[in-house]
């Protein structure tokens, strides 16, 4: 066996390295195109923007790992931002720590609603969350009566929180929001990689039938994934409120697609079972970087961002499909799960060719 560097790293790490490479290339490219590109202000802007989308994308990735999808997160962010903004506006003396807790709890409730419908009634998550995307938003509209939250109505500590620096390196100021978001991502990363309960999310997405046979409670795992997604969307809603101050009924619109984009570009398999939060972190940064940079690039209009994002997602999915299909060519459990017509009619018989390949 060759003991080269390339053969020792896992496909997931490979994907992360490739993403990192693309990220650096993108930065280098734009730094030749845009004057004064690599400055502290841009870093600031992108990092705070990434902080919000990262939280949502991390939650989304947990759901996607279980072979589901959560399209309602944008509406959850909007609702939580508005509701929490209204509450602190009405009761400014409320202890600061309770505010994010309220946001998280509220988001978790929305997630639990999705998870209940998906796991209890076995409904396709795409339909359920497409519906709750509309339902949650309309509850928001009803709740607001068309009015908006304004910065003026919020306590000072909240608006200042968005500008609070955790630490400063030279010109680069790192905001608390960014630190919190990254810490949350790392906590989820550790949970997913180092805890059995976390690994079961992968198991459920990788082969739900095998998960059932192995005695894993599949319904509960899916439920947990949606609750996590909702809770993180709730926290993101709190940060959204702190950062923008002015919240209208369209707050958070479209974040669901952006988060799915970050997840898929970050190397989480849209069909579940594999991916890492670190990849999602890079994916979210890449998407935000592209968006922010396209706005400043003189050669093309900023309006390219959605077109680029959509094609990026397609590219990522196509890559995943063909990569996993190469795996399927072997007599694997996934092949058994995704039976071809021929397999249905006869007991699967291992291909001798594949056996020889394994023997070497």
């Amino acid at each position: 066996m060759r003991n080269t560097f390339m053969s020792r790293i896992s496909p997931t790490s490979m994907r992360i390295l490739a993403l990192l490479f693309v990220l650096i290339l993108t930065i280098l490219f734009f730094s030749t195109q845009i004057e004064n590109y690599l400055n502290a202000r841009l870093f600031n802007r992108i990092s705070t923007s990434v902080a919000i989308i990262l939280l949502i994308a991390v939650g989304q990735s947990v759901v996607v790992l279980t072979r589901n999808i959560d399209l309602s997160v944008g509406s959850v962010v909007g609702f939580v931002a508005y509701f929490v903004g209204g509450v602190v506006g009405a009761f400014p003396e409320i202890p600061a720590i309770l505010v994010p807790v309220l946001a998280i709890a509220l988001g978790a409730c929305f997630g639990a609603f999705n998870g209940f419908l998906v796991s209890r009634f076995n409904l396709p998550s795409i339909i359920v969350t497409l519906a709750t995307l509309a339902i949650f938003r309309s509850i928001l509209v009803e709740f607001t009566d068309g009015s908006s939250i304004t910065t003026a109505s919020l306590p000072d500590w909240l608006t200042e929180f968005a500008r609070l620096n955790a630490f400063v390196v030279g010109n680069f100021r790192v905001r608390w929001m960014v630190v919190i978001s990254i810490v949350v991502a790392l906590v989820v990363h550790v949970f997913l990689t180092r805890f059995r309960a976390g690994r079961q999310f992968y198991a459920v997405g990788s082969n739900p039938e095998a998960a059932r046979v192995a005695g894993i409670n599949v319904g509960r795992t899916v439920m947990q994934a949606f609750v996590i997604s909702g809770a993180l969307a709730g926290l993101a809603g709190f940060m959204f409120l702190a950062r923008f101050g002015n919240i209208t009924i369209v707050a958070g619109l479209g974040l669901e697609l952006k988060s799915v984009g970050a997840v898929v570009v970050g190397g989480v398999n849209i069909f579940g079972g594999s991916g890492s939060v670190i990849g999602v972190l890079i994916g979210a940064s890449l998407i935000d970087l592209l968006e922010t940079s396209l706005v400043r690039w003189a050669l093309v209009s900023e309006f390219w961002r959605d077109a680029v994002l959509g094609m990026l997602i397609l590219l990522a999915v196509v890559t995943d499909t063909f990569m996993s299909r190469r795996l399927l060519a072997r007599p694997t459990a996934k092949a058994a799960a995704a039976k071809t017509a021929a397999d249905n009619t006869a007991a699967p018989i291992a291909a001798p060719g594949a056996r020889q390949a394994e023997g070497s």
Binding site: R199, Q200, Y202, G273, A336, A346, A351
Partner: protein, 501 residues
């Protein structure tokens, strides 16, 4: 003799009108390998599902360590230290071997220490006397290695009963050796192993005790030393005489319609050559997974062969899709009515006319419903399909009538060569006789017929010629009268010696 760890007492389980298990009893003792043999459809899979809490028995009791228990879920069966591995390995392709083993191991800390996990996985695998790198993703393993992973999962949970359902069905010879090594290691460790297999040579090599089951009933349980292969075969096939059909050879056979030479498809079948004449009924016998269906699928263009040549009426042909096969006058009646045969939600008429739909259409592509119903009606009479209304979904008919609809669908294509896979699986005895009559009539009209059947009396009553397949190869051929239950079964299961090969 030690006390049994698991006893199944008088278990019965019926699905609709089919009695899958009929007061079946078996008891498993620690430190023994107990083989369970029986023909396809004898009720073995149902037994496992009852043992593992997937199905609940209609009657009878399950006793673990002398205490009666009920399993409502797989988890409950697992908690009672039962584990099963299935023909198709149930692993997580994206996770590595160590995780596959310990994914739901509640005795372990909730926090995963990867190094310890790998060490322990190595230790568990080592106990099985094999070597699999615990860091490899399970998706990259061979089926045999995936099976090892499943066994390791069972061991790590301290399973005291391990059920192996046809574990060798998709393994190569040296992989089977390795599996036997594992089974013996488990026996030495005091595990009760229930080994389910068609292959008698394996059973006689590995088992301490053999139980034969037939039609959901217990036939015999004996120590391996007290029984011979011939006896087991006789007990497996032995039926009441009334279930038999009288053999009536086809009157006349004509020119060679299909000639197949050296046909192979990697992993499915190897170097298959045969001919079929017009009006002849040729039967492929053998066990499930012997590659018979794969040969049919190759002839029908679903899974084209890698090598070899196919001639129809003297013309070499390449069959790349079912549409092409139809054009050559080939029809394939699938064994899997539900998944591949007919669409249950669609009407009887629509199912019958589907393959020939374009021929019912005018220039605008609109279906001539009158012509369509007329043809469907003809088949209703000809095959005696009992359906009040041919515009009802097929799913509302009984199994036997569904089977006839499926036959009608393919007869409507006016085939020259009819491939029929398990023509009477899961239908009652009356419908069975009718299906047989239809097949004989077709042969009398000069259609060349290839039947794939695991039902020996059916094979013997229909066939002009029988070809036996085992592990993707032709292992023997009989002219009509020379085939008997035992001679065919011997070749199919690979029992030593005898057989008119």
């Amino acid at each position: 003799m030690t006390a049994p760890v698991l006893e199944m007492r008088e278990i019965s389980k019926a699905f609709g009108n089919t009695r899958a298990l009929d007061a079946f009893s078996i008891s498993l003792e620690p430190g023994t390998i107990h083989a369970l043999v029986g023909e396809n459809g004898a009720g073995k899979s149902t037994l496992i599902k009852v043992m593992m809490g997937i199905h609940q028995p209609d009657a009878g009791s399950i006793v673990v360590d002398g205490r009666e228990v009920t399993f409502r879920t797989t988890q409950e069966a697992q908690a009672a230290a039962l584990a099963a591995i299935y023909q198709e390995p149930m692993v997580f392709p994206d996770l590595d071997v160590a995780e596959n083993i310990f994914i739901n191991h509640h005795a372990r800390p909730a926090f995963v220490r990867w190094r310890a996990l790998y060490d322990e996985a190595s230790a568990v695998i080592k106990r099985l006397g094999v070597s699999v790198d615990p860091r490899r993703p399970a998706g990259s393993l061979t089926l045999a290695e995936q099976q090892t992973v499943e066994i390791a999962r069972a061991i790590s949970l301290d399973a005291r009963v391990l059920i192996m359902d046809e574990p060798s069905a998709s393994l190569s010879d040296h992989e089977v050796r390795r599996l036997f090594g594992i089974a013996r290691a488990l026996r030495a460790a005091g595990v009760a192993v229930l080994y389910i297999s068609h292959r008698l040579e394996e059973v006689f090599e590995i088992a301490d005790t053999v139980t034969v089951m037939r039609d959901g009933k217990h036939v015999s349980t004996r120590p391996i030393a007290d029984i011979t292969e011939e006896r087991v075969v006789a007990e497996m096939v032995g039926r009441d005489m009334q279930g038999r059909f009288k053999r009536m050879p086809s009157a006349q056979t004509g020119d060679v319609l299909l000639r197949v030479e050296g046909l192979s498809r990697a992993g499915a079948f190897h170097d298959v050559s045969f001919t079929v004449r017009k009006g002849e009924i040729l039967c492929f016998s053998g066990l499930v997974g012997a590659g018979r269906t794969d040969v049919a699928l190759a002839l029908f263009g679903i899974a084209p062969p890698d090598h070899g040549r196919i001639e129809i009426a003297g013309q070499p042909v390449t069959i790349s899709s079912p549409a092409v096969a139809q054009r050559h006058g080939i029809a394939y009646v699938s064994e899997d009515r539900r998944k591949l045969g007919i669409a249950m939600a669609e009407t009887v008429t629509a199912n019958i006319t589907l393959p020939m739909l374009d021929s019912y259409c005018g220039p605008l592509g609109l279906v001539d419903k009158r012509a369509e119903s007329a043809d469907a009606d003809t088949f209703r009479e000809r095959l005696d399909i009992r359906a009040a209304d041919l515009n009802m979904p097929v799913g509302t008919l009984s199994g036997g009538n569904q089977q006839k609809v499926m036959l009608a669908k393919w007869l409507n294509t006016k085939p020259r060569l009819l491939l029929v896979d398990e023509p009477t699986r899961g239908i009652d005895i009356g419908a069975k006789a009718e299906v047989h009559r239809i097949i004989r009539d077709l042969a009398a009209q000069g259609v060349a017929i290839v039947i794939i059947s695991s039902d020996l009396p059916e094979v013997l009553s229909l066939a002009d010629r029988v070809i036996v397949m085992r592990e993707g190869r032709f292992v023997g051929e009989f002219q009509g009268e020379s085939a008997t239950d035992e001679s065919v079964m011997h070749l199919a299961v690979g029992a030593a010696g005898r057989g008119a090969a």
